[in-house]
């Protein structure tokens, strides 16, 4: 992605469009930031928005490994659950009856660190596997950790779960998560412009090639995997507080992974804005399906997944890209989507399109 000096012909034409995206994103951010200050925003609305931000955050983290390095993680929700559980355990610590739990902030931070630490350990083993083997190994990690949490009752409360003291300040959680998501978006955008980001894409495109060119692929991919685990753990920790209750079946749900995968696919795998747009869109679609279809919402989601994979493999961002707009030039989407054409999703058939 070359950033030529403004004023040179073709590039000058693209700048206003790129700037428009930046301004648009800023406007959305400001609207989201002022929303709670306006009267009439109920706690329920705030919770809905916070959960949407959670969903977006997890999708961004999933995209770091799934989209950028091409390691498709089918058990990403495990870090969410571990973050939630670690926090819940620290808070509900008891010694002979009275609660001697930790205060919220350190509990949340340590919860996230535990998730990141475990991600570093498990990632070292599972990231040696490639393609579908990695995916299934992570699915296995997810199922196995859930069972361990269920069995380890002295620490985790077993199948009964743990109850947290209510600490309900919806607006506070909303702002914290809004800030986190903003940091993640800016962070991924910035990451793409660093050598580190380029190295991650190189791993996706040709891991052996990257290695022969002196990139320490094992270290880099484990690093990004651990960071994604830590970050998703942080969202899990925050979620545990807001939910005030964790048990194995609500802290570790497959749907959270499915949402991250689907949201990212819908938006555009390996793009900066993809997971944000996709996860947000998916969240509202699901809310609609939930209210109108009840039981059938999962069915609709399965159909949607198949349709996206078969017919819109490059996602929403790819749709815009194909129309020849350079709307997303500023965020480096041209480069991303070009990579994606040879990437894991589009596979062979997209070469004909290019």
């Amino acid at each position: 992605m070359s950033r030529a000096a403004p004023g040179t012909g073709a590039v000058a034409g693209r700048w206003p469009a790129g700037r428009a995206v930046g301004v648009g994103a800023l406007i959305v951010l400001v609207v989201l930031a002022v929303l709670p200050l306006l009267g009439g925003t109920s706690n329920a609305t705030l919770l809905t928005l916070t959960l949407m931000l959670t969903s977006i955050g997890v999708a961004i983290n999933w995209n770091l490994t799934g989209g950028f390095t091409g390691y498709v993680d089918f058990g990403h929700a495990v870090w969410f659950g571990i973050g939630a559980y670690a926090t819940a355990i620290l808070i509900s610590l008891q010694s002979n009856g009275p609660q001697v739990g930790w205060p919220p902030v350190p509990a949340i931070l340590v919860g996230a660190l535990v998730a990141g630490f475990l991600a570093a350990i498990i990632g070292r083993a599972t990231m040696r596997l490639k393609g579908p083997y990695f995916s299934i190994a992570m699915l296995g990690t997810f199922v196995a950790v859930r069972e361990i949490v269920r069995v380890w009752s002295p620490l985790t409360g077993g199948g009964v779960g743990l109850t947290l003291p209510p600490y309900l300040n919806r607006a506070l959680f909303y702002y914290v998560e809004l800030a986190l998501v903003t940091v993640l978006v800016v962070g991924t955008w910035w990451l793409r412009r660093t050598r580190f980001g380029a190295a991650l894409v190189a791993i996706r495109e040709d891991e052996v090639g990257a290695e022969t060119r002196g990139i320490d692929t094992t270290r880099l991919k484990t690093a990004v995997f651990s960071f994604a685990g830590l970050s998703t753990g942080l969202f899990g920790a925050l979620w545990a507080y807001q939910n005030t209750f964790v048990d194995p079946d609500i802290a570790f749900v497959e749907v959270r992974t499915i949402d991250a995968v689907m949201g990212t696919m819908l938006g555009g795998l390996g793009t900066v804005a993809g997971p944000v747009l996709g996860a947000a869109a998916l969240y509202w679609v699901r809310e609609l399906l939930w209210t109108h279809l009840l039981d059938a919402h999962l069915l609709a989601q399965g159909v949607l997944l198949i349709v996206i994979v078969l017919f819109v493999p490059r996602g929403l961002v790819g749709l815009v890209d194909r129309r020849g707009t350079s709307l997303f030039e500023l965020w480096g989407w041209k480069g991303w989507s070009r990579g994606l054409r040879q990437g894991p999703v589009a596979g062979g058939e997209a070469e004909a399109a290019s």
Binding site: R128, I136, A144, I148, V151, E207, L298, L299, V303, V345
Partner: protein
Amino acid sequence: MSYFAQALVNGIALGGMYTILVLGFSIIWGVMGVINLAHGEFVMVGAYLAWMASDFWDVDPFISAPVVFVVMLLFGYLVQRVLVNRIIDRSSLVSLLVMFGVSIILQSVMKIAFSADFRLANTDLDGAWRLSDQLTIPVTRFWILVVAVGVTAGLGLFLGHSRLGKSIRAAAQNREAARIVGVDVKKVYAVTFALCIGLTGVAGALISPLLAVQPFQGPPLTLKAFAITAMAGLGSVRGALGGAMVLGMVEAMLALYVDRIGTNLAVVASFVLLVAALVLRPQGIFKGLRHVDATST
């Protein structure tokens, strides 16, 4: 000692169950290169069919199994024509995600149709044979083992000696070469997929008296099938038997030696086996239909 003998018997019985559960998954992967993430859901559909036969018409799952086979064969053929044909040439991520979508759809449909209640089919072949005070043989599992061994032998003969079986192996080893020597690869894939889904449905029917039939029983079964296949070599019939016995034995021993929680750790065990097998011996322990290398460097 006698507890150990009992665990040994349980392990072999469990291994028989896993053998029949894993064969369809293993062969689809080995021949077509498609990882059928909806495998557990096809088992679940087969189990529901057998439960319906048992509950509505009082037909024993061991008797309804052939009917379930035919129904699932047709269902598998339909899925192959509508979906699998489209994804077979594409990257493994596409087939993983599409089959994942299929699994969500099947779970959801079954939940809408039958609710999430746990069901069990009735069979006359239940109970246990007492050999001594501390050694019993579970009857249902014994007969499943018999069927599993029979099916394994039959499949081995079919793949090894029949013309169609040879075409299937040829298509698995080298698709282009098979096409050149006149194998209709599309037809081979359609037959393979339909046959394997039929077999998977039979597995579901046979375990319906043992394992609670419910819409969400699939994912752990898929995981176990994956673990066994990865251990055993893709599409290897003998390997499936061997890998299934290993997993069954590990689970039975866990249940014996780890007090109370051992049975819950079964799925953890299959995961540990899976990762260990993949990392240590990525090409599989037995020689499969397709060469595989799971590690990246």
